[in-house]
């Protein structure tokens, strides 16, 4: 018998059990889905408004209205994947630590980070994924061209890199509750960070923009999360200069590095875990 559980089958059961659970609270599920879709609709309307006043986000950046819709869809895809898979778990991780319920996760013969990160799948966040896909199709229909298979595969690969980077940030923050005792700033943090990641890199220019761009590219690499995959979708924005080629390479590195760092921090957190009263 193998020493490891069948991770994929365990994941399927997590997904299945979560769905059964979500379906038990049907009304809550529907309201959740509708409210996040409505929030996205409002966002989209806001950008439509902005593009009434300008044809492009910054002259010469290449981010016209429909190009930016591709960017926005990418934000949606990545955020919805992270929220579906990890958000509820990371949020609960903090509670597991505070209440001592992490004990049970530590007893199981399975990777604790896997268990803690994926045991609750939030299906209601998947609505935004559909919204994003529809928006991509619409944007291409307006742009009048279709992405090549190579562009699509690169795009999907970099979407996964983006998910990995955001997940690492999230689990690191959640793990810090071992030392802080309690950490309920997760949703706030998520909002701040994704706030920076949801605009094209090109707008971070000038006296204040340059340091911000540098910081959020190399130290907390959230700026590459959406930007790098999104550029593969836009024909006019494919990598041309040296920097354009450097960024995708760096993103691969950043994804692997942040996963490694977050795993290290996670394990340190488990070693410091002290459980709670009986």
């Amino acid at each position: 018998m193998s020493d490891h559980p069948a991770y994929f089958r365990v994941l399927l059961l997590f997904a299945r059990n979560s769905l059964v659970r979500d379906m038990t609270f049907r009304a809550n599920f529907i309201i959740d889905t509708i409210s996040s879709l409505a929030w996205m609709g409002i966002n989209l309307a806001f950008y439509v408004l902005i593009f009434q006043y300008t044809p492009m986000l910054g002259a010469g950046t290449g981010w016209g209205k429909y190009e930016f819709f591709l960017f926005l869809s990418t934000t949606l895809l990545i955020n919805s994947l992270v929220q579906t898979l990890f958000m509820a778990n990371a949020d609960e991780f903090s509670e597991l630590i505070r209440t001592g319920a992490l004990d049970f996760a530590l007893l199981k013969p399975i990777d604790t980070q896997f268990l803690v990160s994926l045991q609750r799948i939030d299906w209601s966040s998947l609505g935004n994924l559909g919204f994003g896909l529809v928006l991509i199709v619409y944007a291409y229909s307006q742009l009048g061209y279709a992405p090549s298979p190579v562009a699509i595969s690169l795009y999907l690969g970099y979407v996964l890199c983006g998910v990995a980077i955001l997940y690492s940030l999230m689990i690191t923050l959640a793990a810090s509750s071992v030392w802080l005792g309690r950490n309920q700033t997760l949703y706030d943090f998520w909002f701040y960070i994704t706030n920076f990641s949801r605009y094209p890199r090109e707008i971070y220019r000038g006296k204040y923009g340059d340091p911000l761009r540098w910081f959020f590219t190399f130290l907390v690499p959230v700026l590459v999360v959406v930007n790098v995959p999104a550029r593969f979708l836009v024909r006019s924005l494919r990598p041309q200069t040296l920097e354009d080629w450097f960024l995708p390479a760096f993103t691969l590195f950043a994804a692997v590095a942040s996963l490694a760092v977050s795993r290290w921090i996670f394990n340190r957190a488990l070693a410091s875990y002290r459980s709670a009263s009986s």
């Binding site: 365990v10 004990d103 399975i110």
Partner: protein, 338 residues
């Protein structure tokens, strides 16, 4: 065969000293005072395969901390422990497949789902072969009489039913070592009795090793031949349950029924009067003094009936907890049952 070996195991925590009031709380933001709590202060213990051992001790004695150390949930400050040859806090999968921990105060089943869904998850996590899983599950659910509750959401189960499901979840992978932390807490007498019966039967047929903590003396008396008493993080007794009275019951209770109806007033000089309901009287007498006191009473008073009894076990244990080094003196070395 020795299954659990513990040497000098110790665990201390640093606890933030929170003071009452607003101003001290604000000061606490900048400068914190910590106190070191020594939950376990050097425990040595050997447990053989097939033993059913009870951990007794007041709240905060270190019982749960010891179980958590042995489960690898927390790491010790110093000392060593091996369970089935594994160091628990290395959290190897090979070890985690072979033991289980049940905590009466916490639940691990998915709250909104039927217990069976959680069981299936365990089946995958522990890689239990399907037919074996179904056989074990059906056997356990019928033994505990919860078979028809398998598809009911856990949140709709009673506390007793839920506890039984928790036990089943912990036993699905047929652990060789089982740690039970107050498994009957909050249960009514019937449910308590059922769980006890089940545990005794299960342990006897499978010959697994069990460590149990409980505040119910009935659990302990019904299940465990060996009792380890922990107080202030140290083992102060290790032996049979009845041995506790021999060692720590420093006195006996003499009950008298006087034939002339009225007990003489002088009784107080023979011992502490516990109850006086003429013609009956109860005296508390130092154990070593019992023969002299008895003969003195019989010589001077008209006695119709007499009995000498040990004080109730609960009382002895309560006294032992209040004076850990009490009448038994240096009590670190206890006798082991044969």
């Amino acid at each position: 065969m020795t299954v659990i070996e513990i040497d000098g195991l110790a665990k201390s925590y640093r606890v933030y000293q929170k003071k009452e009031g607003i101003w001290p709380s604000i000061k606490g933001l900048f400068h914190r005072e910590y106190r070191t709590v020594e939950a376990v202060r050097g425990i040595d213990l050997r447990v053989d395969r097939g033993e059913f051992v009870a951990f007794l001790g007041p709240n905060g004695a270190g019982k749960t901390t010891t179980l958590k150390l042995l489960s690898g949930v927390i790491t010790p400050t110093s000392g060593t422990a091996r369970v089935l040859g594994h160091v628990p806090w290395q959290r190897e999968n090979a070890y985690r497949r072979r033991f289980a921990l049940v905590m009466g105060q916490k639940n691990q089943l998915w709250w909104d789902l039927p217990a069976n869904e959680s069981f299936r998850l365990h089946q995958q996590i522990y890689r239990i072969e399907r037919r074996q899983f179904e056989r074990t599950r059906d056997e356990l659910t019928s033994m505990l009489g919860v078979r028809e509750l398998l598809s009911q959401p856990v949140r709709e189960l009673s506390l007793g039913e839920r506890m039984k499901m928790e036990l089943i979840a912990a036993l699905l992978h047929s652990p060789e070592v089982l740690f039970l932390d107050e498994p009957t807490i909050g249960l009514d007498v019937v449910a308590q009795y059922n769980v006890q019966n089940f545990l005794r039967h299960y342990q006897q047929t499978r010959q697994i090793t069990i460590l149990l903590t409980s505040h119910y003396m009935k659990d302990v008396a019904a299940l465990c031949r060996r009792v380890v008493v922990i107080s202030l993080g140290r083992i102060i007794y290790d032996g049979s349950l009845s041995g506790i009275i021999d060692r720590f019951g420093g006195h006996k209770v003499i009950s008298l029924q006087m034939s002339n109806g009225q007990p003489p007033d002088v009784m107080a000089r023979y011992g502490q009067v516990l109850a006086a309901e003429p013609p009956r009287i109860k005296l508390r007498v130092e154990r070593s003094m019992v023969p002299q006191v008895l003969s003195a009473i019989l010589a001077h008073c008209a006695v119709e009936d007499v009995s000498v009894e040990d004080p109730p076990l609960e009382q002895v244990i309560a006294e032992m907890f209040t004076h850990p080094n009490g009448p038994g003196g240096h009590a670190d070395e206890g006798e082991r049952p044969a």
